[in-house]
């Protein structure tokens, strides 16, 4: 066990799985970097933010493949390789680039197993960065996990810390279905204790980062941290919250969410993706259908507005959910009085 950054945790997961299983290969734009360059330094980059650094040096050109800038063909190639015996981990760099290759994910990889009557397995992992807060503007800041969650046949993972990232990525690589693994780009330098050995965290099992009596907060990825910050502050005012990190949006641990709401009777959902047809609506609908009885107050969603991500920091900060808005939402459901009662 030692302190590791989110970046290191992912690198270590990849390294350990590549050592364990020769079928695990890596591909993506500059996942090594420097191919053909005049410095003759083919491991120059290790991905645009250095996450895969050193893997080319250890595993070589037979396992680590830099690609042309051609997302449709190499993500499709990853799907094809997965269906024919390899276990590729493909890096899409920014999840925003899914627009260049969605067909290979949505109509090919995701559908093979079902459409071919169970005769195909597609053990494919697609890693990509998501999220705002980096001043990267509208085309490099989207969250987009609702798109993937909507598509049957995909599994979708959003780790909320270095520990989570390592265990979930190893699980993803060992899974036989296509998995979308989303990394928040502003969290790469976050650190925490992470075991040195290999371990897995199962999909579809939520993590309760804290338990409380008053309000259940469901949050995704980086928002788990914001939710915990809000809960810390609220605790000082005597409001205690359960914070649920579902870890995976597909499969979703509906049981844990429903159980917690049954106890607290109040629900706030924090989702940094665009507000329409997103995970906040997904969880709200689940609870409004299955835990209606338990609800003491309206279900509040904390999300960005339905706009592209603006560039200027002053606007981007307004755009993003933050601990203060979560706190306000929790207080509003605590303060709720039904009209009949009021």
């Amino acid at each position: 066990m030692s302190k590791k950054s989110f970046r290191q945790a992912i690198n270590e997961a990849l390294r350990q799985e590549m050592r364990r299983d020769p079928r695990v290969i890596l591909m993506g734009e500059d996942v090594a970097g420097g191919q053909g360059g005049s410095a003759d330094n083919p491991d120059a980059w290790g991905g645009v933010l250095g996450v895969t650094k050193g893997l080319y040096t250890e595993f070589g050109a037979e396992r680590v493949f830099d690609t042309p800038i051609s997302e449709a063909s190499y993500i499709g190639a990853a799907a094809g390789a997965a269906a024919t015996g390899l276990r590729p981990v493909a890096e899409l760099m920014f999840v925003d680039f899914i627009g260049s290759c969605l067909d290979q994910v949505m109509n090919q990889a995701a559908k093979f197993r079902y459409m071919f009557g169970g005769k195909a397995r597609t053990p494919l992992v697609i890693r990509a960065m998501y999220g705002a807060g980096f001043s990267a503007a509208a085309q490099h800041s989207q969250a987009l996990y609702p798109l993937f969650t909507h598509i049957p046949g995909l599994k979708v993972v959003i780790p909320s810390s270095p520990y989570e990232a390592k265990g979930l990525l190893i699980e993803a690589i060992r899974d036989d279905d296509p998995v979308i693994f989303l990394e928040n780009k502003v969290m790469y330098d976050d650190e925490e204790d992470v075991p040195d050995d290999s371990y897995t965290i199962p999909f579809g099992e939520a993590n309760l980062t804290r338990e409380g009596d008053d309000v259940t907060i469901v949050a995704f990825g980086r928002m788990v941290n914001f939710a915990n910050q809000a809960a810390d502050r609220l605790e000082k005012e005597g409001i205690t919250c359960t914070v649920i990190d579902p870890r995976t949006t597909s499969p979703l641990d509906t049981g844990t969410i429903l159980d917690c709401v049954a106890e607290t009777g109040r629900l706030v959902i924090v989702d940094e993706s665009s507000p329409r047809c997103n995970m906040a609506t997904d969880v709200a609908a689940l609870v409004a259908e299955e835990a209606f009885d338990a609800l003491k107050a309206p279900i509040r969603r904390v999300t960005p507005p339905h706009t592209p991500v603006p560039f200027a920091s002053v606007l981007e900060n307004l755009y993003m959910p933050d601990p203060a808005r979560i706190e306000a939402a929790v207080k509003s459901v605590m303060g709720y009085k039904a009209k009949q009662e009021a």
Partner: protein, 321 residues
């Protein structure tokens, strides 16, 4: 190159099987019993069979919406295919795929594909598997003239070249993508496109099994030898509409009839092999009869086969509510 007798017999049988399978579907579709979209490969048999005559089960192919011929050429059984097209639980995809999604990974058949341009990227991946796993296999993408304009196809040519993959790109150029002629939709030439990605180019008459066999043989040998990808441009014509129901009002009257009369790959094959006494008419007749029976049986079995059970709806996919 002398083609072994057993390859000739097998290839003729495959071409005949495709022809009868398709002609029968044409009839069955008209009765309304076959649902969905059906795209027939009739007239193009020598292409799929000529290419696949060089492939083993451990090699991989990816096909298109017009996939029946490639499936049969790669060895998928007609019973399972027919049952699939009829949506039966005995279908090769248990009735969940249908005509456009017949696949059998165990035979290296990576699937028909409802998405134009869907196959070439997948074939880069299959070729990568062959390369990384060092199993000596090659991977072949079949795609049409129309599909040759998809970005996925064009990117794949580059990717296969950059990675020096054992991949062969077979452009089945039947002159049309749906109703639009390739003379309108394809600027430049397939030959120059191959050159644009540093890929060796081959072409042949797709109604002549021997031409396809020889040309594809060279391209596949090139790829199998580790020399990188190759392109085979096969000139063809399709005899039915784009899909069943298409009246082909975009093609000149009599054009298809003329092709049927003059460019039938089965007739040409028979003429050639009997002329130079490679095979005798009797053994071909025998094949014809046996295939006729096989297709008849496939239809009877398909119609009698059980429909999928309701449970199948939720099987073979992870389902979260």
């Amino acid at each position: 190159m002398q083609i072994p007798r057993e390859v000739l017999l097998r290839s003729y049988r495959a071409m005949r099987t495709i022809r009868d399978f398709e002609e029968r579907l044409h009839v069955e579709f008209a009765t309304g019993e076959i649902p969905g979209f059906v795209h027939l490969y009739c007239g193009e048999e020598a292409s799929g069979v000529g290419v696949c005559s060089h492939l083993k089960d451990t090699d991989t192919i990816a096909s298109t919406h017009r996939g029946h011929g490639h499936c049969i050429a790669k060895g998928v059984g007609v019973d399972g295919m027919m049952a699939e097209i009829y949506g039966r639980s005995t279908g090769v995809c248990r009735g969940k795929g249908g005509s456009m999604h017949i696949a059998d990974l165990s035979l290296g058949m990576l699937g028909a594909n409802g998405i134009v341009g869907g196959g070439p990227p997948l074939i880069c991946g299959a070729a990568l598997s062959h390369k990384v796993l060092k199993d000596g296999g090659v991977a072949v993408a079949f795609y049409g003239d129309g599909a040759s304009n998809e970005g996925t196809t064009l990117e794949s040519l580059n990717l296969a070249s950059v990675w020096n993959l054992p991949a062969v790109f077979v452009v089945e150029d039947n002159g049309y993508g749906e109703a639009t002629a390739s003379s309108y939709a394809c600027a430049g030439t397939q030959k120059d496109r191959a050159a644009g990605f540093g890929i060796p180019y081959f072409e042949c008459d797709g109604t002549d099994f021997f031409a396809v066999h020889e040309t594809a043989g060279e391209a596949i040998a090139h790829a199998r030898a580790g020399k990188g990808p190759a392109m085979v441009h096969v000139h063809l014509s399709r005899w039915y509409g784009h899909f069943e129901g298409d009246a082909m009002t975009y093609r000149a009257n009599g054009e298809v009839a003329k092709e049927r009369a003059e460019q039938d790959c089965l007739k040409k094959f028979r003429e050639k092999v009997t002329e130079i006494s490679l095979l005798d008419s009797a053994s071909l007749d025998e094949i014809d009869a046996s295939v006729r029976d096989e297709i008849e049986q496939a239809v009877i079995k398909a119609k009698a086969a059980p429909l999928p059970e309701p449970e199948a709806l939720m099987q073979d996919v992870y389902v979260s509510y």
